[in-house]
Structures are given as C-alpha cells and as structure tokens.
Amino acid sequence: STLPIQPTPSRHLQSIIKELQYTAKTVLENYQKEEKGVTERSSYRLPCLTSDPKPPNSLNSSAILTYFQTIRPLSQNQTLIDEIIRQLEKLCSQDLPKMEVSVPERSFERKRFIFTILKQFSNCMDQVVGLWIPKSS
C-alpha cells in the first residue's frame, strides 16, 4: 500500500528555506559571473513564495516551481537548478493548476529573463528567511 501524501512537516520548513536561500544565492552568483553584461529587466515579475491558507503547510511554491522548471533546460548548471526544484516541490501544494511561462525568443533577452528570475528568487528567499527565521536561530 502507498503512504498517503503528507504535507512537509513544519520542522523541515525552516531548513528548506535556509537551504533554498543559500542555493539561490550560489546559482545567482554563478550566472552573474558567467553571463557578463546581463542585467535584470524589471518588466519580468517572479511571484514570491505565497502563504497557503491550508495549515500547516503555509508556504506554497507552485508558481515559482513552474518558472524553475521552465528555465531548467536553458541553464548550463542544471544540478543546482534541480536542487532548487526538489526543494520547491516540498513546499508545493498539489492542487494548483499548472501555469504557462513564456520565454523570450532572442538569446540575450532570454538571458535577461533567466537572470531576473534568479535575482528575484534570491531576493524572495531573503525576505522569507527574514519573516520565518528569527534572528537568533
């Protein structure tokens, strides 16, 4: 028999958030070093982790997850992107419909799109850590 799907235990949430913050920063720094001249374009908007009304898993990442699944095939360092995807899957409530993410056609603009997603995700994780993890811990 298969175990019922249980939401991620809350004792894991802080660890997941810390791991995501660290990996997000690493991926961003690597991409910045790799793609000289590419900067953020504010017209691209990545939704941050949303609060899911259904307790106890009050963090939901399905919107962000779709973005990372979209940029994965476009990235050179897929291992770290895969790690982010795995962690986001733990914060994802299953019932939200899949959304489409359109990617710019031209390469340079696509790189700006990817960089913006990584930048905004890193900022998002800093905010979430600030909200969820008291300074002392």
């Binding site: 660890s15 810390k18 995807i85 994802c92």
Partner: protein
C-alpha cells in the same frame, strides 16, 4: 520446491551530503537470480522508485534527486523466479543520517602576547547543510605524545573561514591538531581533517 528469496533485513542508509543516499541490506550474499527493487516513499509526494532490478544488495540515489531535509520510508523488495518477499518498512530522516565532508584546517598559529594558546583557522566544509548547526571535535596532542585530547564546540556560522582559539596549552610547545564535524542531529561524523602543526608562544621566565 519453491524457494522464495530471503527477506531483506538490516537496512541501513547514509546520506553523503550532495553526493548520494546509499542504502545496504542483508543477506549480503544472495543467489545470483535474485533481483532487488528499493522503493523510496517521500513524505510530501507519492511513491518514488529508487533502484530497480539490481542483483547487488546495495543501492544509491544521486544528488540532486535526494535533498535534505526530508523523511523517507524505504522498503526493499527481493524477487526471484519463485516469488517476491518485501522487507519491513524503515523510516529515515535525512538530517539524522547525513555525513558531511571533513573540514580543512588552514593554519595553526600563536597569537602575539597571548600565552599558552593557538589560533586555529579552519574552513567549514563546502558540502555541509547550511540549515544545520555543526558540532565539531578538535583533537590535539604535543608532537611526541601518543595521547590525544579533545574539545568540542558548535557553530551556526555558514561562512567558509572560521577561527577557534585553543587555550590552556603548554608554552613554547609544538602541537598536532585535527578537526572533524557532524551536522547537528546526525549519527555520522565526517572523517578527520588533515593534521596541522602549530607552536605556542615562548613564555618569559618568572
């Protein structure tokens, strides 16, 4: 006479952080025609197969398909021509079975004007969970002494370079120092770091 495979037992798993999750079980020597399938059930998702149709009694799943923190239920299925036998379900919290890489000691040096102490600059293993506090054991002995002494400390700092002041030493003496760490809550220590030497400062006669 039908001969079902032996029931897989003594399942043990280690999570080599950012490398792989390795599980082994007994009986270690099984007939050649027995195949194993390891089922990994994640707490936040449906069943997910780990290793399928293998004859060895071990299996591993590579990072990033395994990321901490997570809780897994692991079940091993043995199969031969005569049938299938399942192990008991075992439950694993990755944080408790994570094994990290050893830290690295950059240098050991005396601090000017501070007697009977050396400063150990070391590097937090790059591959260690940033979400975990590290518990570390520093062992030291004088060069020609066989017996090690140990001090324990913990660190939440995730920066690479860290410093530990080793005090209450003999003056003007050369020490050998090594360091190992574990993620808080884990059963597994890292290996010891490479040993480093350092000498305490000379003390003026009274």
């Amino acid at each position: 006479l039908a001969a079902l495979p032996h029931k897989p037992e003594n399942i043990s798993c280690i999570f080599y952080y950012k490398h792989n999750l390795t599980c082994t079980w007994s009986p270690t020597t099984e007939a050649k025609d027995t195949w194993y399938t390891v089922k990994r059930i994640l707490c936040h998702e449906k069943e997910r197969d780990m290793c399928t149709n293998k004859t060895e009694t071990s299996c591993f799943i590579r990072y990033p398909n395994v990321t901490n923190p997570d809780d897994y239920t692991i079940e091993v299925e043995a199969k031969n021509a005569d049938g299938i036998v399942k192990s008991d379900r075992t439950h694993w919290c990755l944080d408790s079975i994570v094994k990290i890489e050893p830290p690295k000691i950059d240098f050991v040096k005396p601090v000017l004007g501070v007697k009977q102490m050396v400063q150990v600059q070391w590097e937090r293993p790059k591959l260690a969970p940033v979400s975990s506090t590290l518990i570390c054991t520093l062992r030291f002995k004088t060069v020609n002494n066989a017996e090690w002494k140990e001090v324990n400390f913990s660190t939440e700092d995730i920066h690479l370079k860290q410093v530990y002041n080793l005090t209450d030493l003999q003056a003007f003496t050369e020490y050998v120092i090594a360091l190992r760490c574990m993620a808080e809550g884990s059963q597994f220590w890292s290996d010891w770091s490479q040993e480093k030497m350092g000498t305490t400062e000379e003390q003026a006669p009274f």
